[in-house]
Amino acid sequence: MKDHIDAVESNNPGGEEELQRLLAPDVDSLPLSPPSAVQSNFVSYFAPDFMKPGHDQYVYRHANGLCVIGLAPSHVAFKDKVGVTAVDFNVGKTDRSGIKVTGKRKKVFRIGELRCLAGQRFKEAMLLLICGSNARHFESNSALCKVCTNDASYIVRCCVKGNLLEVNDRLIKQPGLLNSSADREGYIAIIMPKPADWLKIKASLIDIEEYKKLKEVC
């Protein structure tokens, strides 16, 4: 480690002190507890009782328009002592975890060129072929996945109409992420809505202050 520091010094004589000075923050002006990355980069919205009572979900909207969907802390699944034990993406017509949006956004796949990789499920392959943008258009009430506790299972829905860009497939192997950090590593999916669609759905969402009041969550 020392030689790296030396390397900087020898190439930047006298500059090292200057650098230290520039880097050192003004401690007194630092807040005791700074906002988290999520808090700084997203605006939090909530969809309480989405389609069913107790199915509380969040929608974190980034400045660039992307929406991260997940389970709000007051979701009925968390009422269970043990919490979430499994996550299943095989809902609706296709297995959502098969969605892998590749880099080639503009490529149009043709049914005639369908190739299944060994072991790949036919349904997943079909999903990849379906539309030109290689990302699936979903309605707000489309199912994303099913979260299971010991006793029950609950459907998680998109909440926002748009292109489904990503699902958090880590949840398959690590469903506990929902219990420990549903608002971060336990996110469910990322959706890109069109501006008009966002405005429509935004009207039915509530902000964090309203949510806290509503659900008496601190």
Binding site: A7, L22, L23, V27, A37, V38, R184
Partner: protein, 578 residues
Amino acid sequence: MLNETGDTRVINDCEAAATAAKVSFSDDARRMIPGEEDMRILSDAASKVSPEAVKDLLSLGICIGCVFRLSWVRGHIFSRPSILLSIFNPVIGEPTDSSTHRPTRIEENKDPGSVHSSQVSECEPVICSICLGVLQFTYFDDQKMLVKKDSADELAATIANLVKKEGHEFDDFSLEVSIPSVITENENVVLFYMKKKYGSEQWFQEKTQSERISAKDALKLSLCSPLEKLLGVKSSVSSTFRIRLTYAPPGASRKNQNITEKRQECKRRKTGAENSFSTVHGSLIYGIECSEVTTSKADAGIRKPSDGLEDHENSDCFKFLLEKVNQPCHLEFHCYRTHIYIGGRYLKYSRNVSQTRWYIDDERMGEASVEIIGSNILPMCLCDNYKFHAAGREDINVRMLGSGRPFLVEIQNSRHVPSEALLKEIEVKINNLENKLVMVKNLKLVGSHGWSLMQEGEEEKQKQYAALVWIDRPLTDEDIEAISSSKDMQILQRTPIRVLHRRSPLEREKIIHWMKIEKIAGSSQYFLLHLCTQAGTYIKEFVHGDLGRTHPRPEESRHQLSFDVGDLFLVQKVDATN
């Protein structure tokens, strides 16, 4: 061919022509009027050509310069066509076809005593069927006026005046000439004819392996020395200052594209021509059809493909093929300096300055951009515009500290090459701007190799950063030790959410070479994280995890810390690997 009286008469005529035409020759240029040495060169050249061939070609409407070129004569003889003609005067005598030729304008200015020259010049066509006047120094200028110069010297004088008007400073120059492709096509037609007619003659066969000088090179050769004398500097291929002459065939230059295309079409359609005269006629008609379709001025000198020329050609038929040309090319003159690169390193002290000018929906993002470097260089170098290139980039809210980021400013058409002193002045000026947002170091001229240095800099190097980080519990010594001991940690980064809307979703593997925690006095939860990473790593996401989408490879068991980024600084290390 050549006799003593011919020599003296030539010299007298030239001097008379000079005074009569009242060309503003400098004393140096006057010495270009052939002295003994030049006459020796000329007579040597003259001995290489066949007088019959010369007469024949002249009668076909080809200028004397092109006649000599096609006879494999090279060297500095193309500057004054009138001299070349006068060599042949005794042989040529009366003009054969007065309808094709008429006295050139300059004759009107001559003294009666040099009526001899006027007879000579009458042999030459007004506009050459091959070079369209290029080697006759005849052209339409940008005012669409017909201009005829007597010699390369005169044309050089006009060019030199135009150059001086542009106000460039230069130590050398490079002359570029562009002539229309139709000239080469015309030449091929004539070469084919010559081969058919003279191929069996000795003078032709002796030379057939040598190379002929092209019209373009002949022009450049004749213009180079006078330009050097008039501009006072040498010509050099590597010069950044370019003088460009562009000849366009008569008729709108835009139509030129159509003409070439149609000609290509004609060529394509003419496949496998049979050995018959009728085919020649057929293609001749085709050629005319093509020309009429594309432009109203059929005297654009459109040539037929030489595919159609077969054994039966004689010079009568040939005259059909070489249409009479009565309009020269348009000459466009342009001088400019090619790109010059100024390189250096920049530092960015502001968290509100983007690297390049950035607008979203007409709204300016950030209060300035690093391109103010370029906008400060522009007026000092008197150039037309600039392009800013940097080796890598940083976000608008990330500072660039340490030794700085390499950049190149490409300036276009500067009126002079900036000196070291001027660059120093620019550096001082930028560094003393009021708001001190950006600083530059080591500003200097770089050659084209600077470009490859930049690209290397982007891809291969390791980058060093410093991030202000906060954790939700006091820092322990174990934390510090765990961080310091991790070397070359492999991480996987999915495309960060903050750029996912405009970048392809990919998973990238990156390496964090080393990390070091620097405690901050007065706080147990804030600290500086110094790290050195592979180029292209998203630092913010590495620190805060991006909802778990950036993480160490699962195989790596690392001491897990939960960090939130409070702030991010950027430091550039001078590479120990270089």
